[in-house]
Amino acid sequence: MTAIELNAQLLREISYIADNENYLQKTLDFITKLTKSEKTSIVRGQVYMEMLERLSDYQEYEKGWDGDDALPLSSIVVKNFKKVLQKSTDSDLQGWTIYPAANGTLLLQHKERKSGINIGTQGYSYYINQNGKIEGENHLRFTPKAILETMKRI
């Protein structure tokens, strides 16, 4: 069935439903639910998929990818970040992006706020710049929960 035919059928059905108030309300409720769930899945998909796509690209980077002496992205770091992704919601990821760092770690950086997290094999560090005042910590123990909490905090 073509899109035009489908449209015609839909309009025909709607005209039948429009005569019955009860059907009309039920249809409206169903369409509202459908639209909301569709919107949610698109947003979730976009942010999550963008992160995964970038991560996959970065995994292809070989030694010297920066035109100098950079190490490839560590496979343990990739596993760590995937654990973060699995435990995250889309709102956790909104506004964040990832970059590889020369020592094989993964830099999670906020696009608007001046803040970032450097994820290693066992540890991580983070910074936040608030009006020129830098705050941060090094040598923190990596757990997905710790990364997600830090993302929310900074």
């Binding site: 970038r54 690209d57 980077y61 010297g64 990818w65 920066d66 035109g67 100098d68 002496d69 950079a70 190490l71 560590s74 343990i76 770091v77 992006t97 970059y99 590889p100 760092a101 020369a102 020592n103 094989g104 770690t105 830099l107 950086q109 001046k114 970032g116 450097n118 994820i119 290693g120 094999t121 066992q122 540890g123 991580y124 560090s125 983070y126 910074y127 710049n129 009006n131 020129g132 005042k133 830098i134 941060g136 910590e137 090094n138 040598h139």
Partner: protein, 147 residues
Amino acid sequence: MIVDSENVARAIFSPKMVVDGEIQPEAFRLRPTICEDYLSVMRMSLPSWLDDIKRIPQRKNRKLYGFAEMNVGEIRNIQLNDVAYDVKEIDTESAPSHAGIFITVKGKNLIGGMSIDMPEPDMEQDFLLLAIQRELVDIAQKGLYVI
């Protein structure tokens, strides 16, 4: 003396340094292997600047991809606690427009930067280096050109 109104160009030597139009923070890493104490740039007010960039030695994995245009005054005006940025001439015969972005932390020159021995953010100043790079990336992002 380089005045605030001048612009400088930071060469980008790998297409991987630009992802979806975003310049990577690594483009502003001081290399520890050569104890780098400044980030090389070319003064765009001098006619030779583009030729000077093209003359920088290239290797198999180091091919000129583009450059980021940055304003000197904007670099010097970065407000970061205990950190100061300056742009100074490094005039050489082979590259008359050569200059460097120098960074000091509490008055001491920042040299080398991140260790790349292991995949850990293991240096005492790791978070500070990230914040320092970020400031330069934000300026560079505004004038990114592919050659």
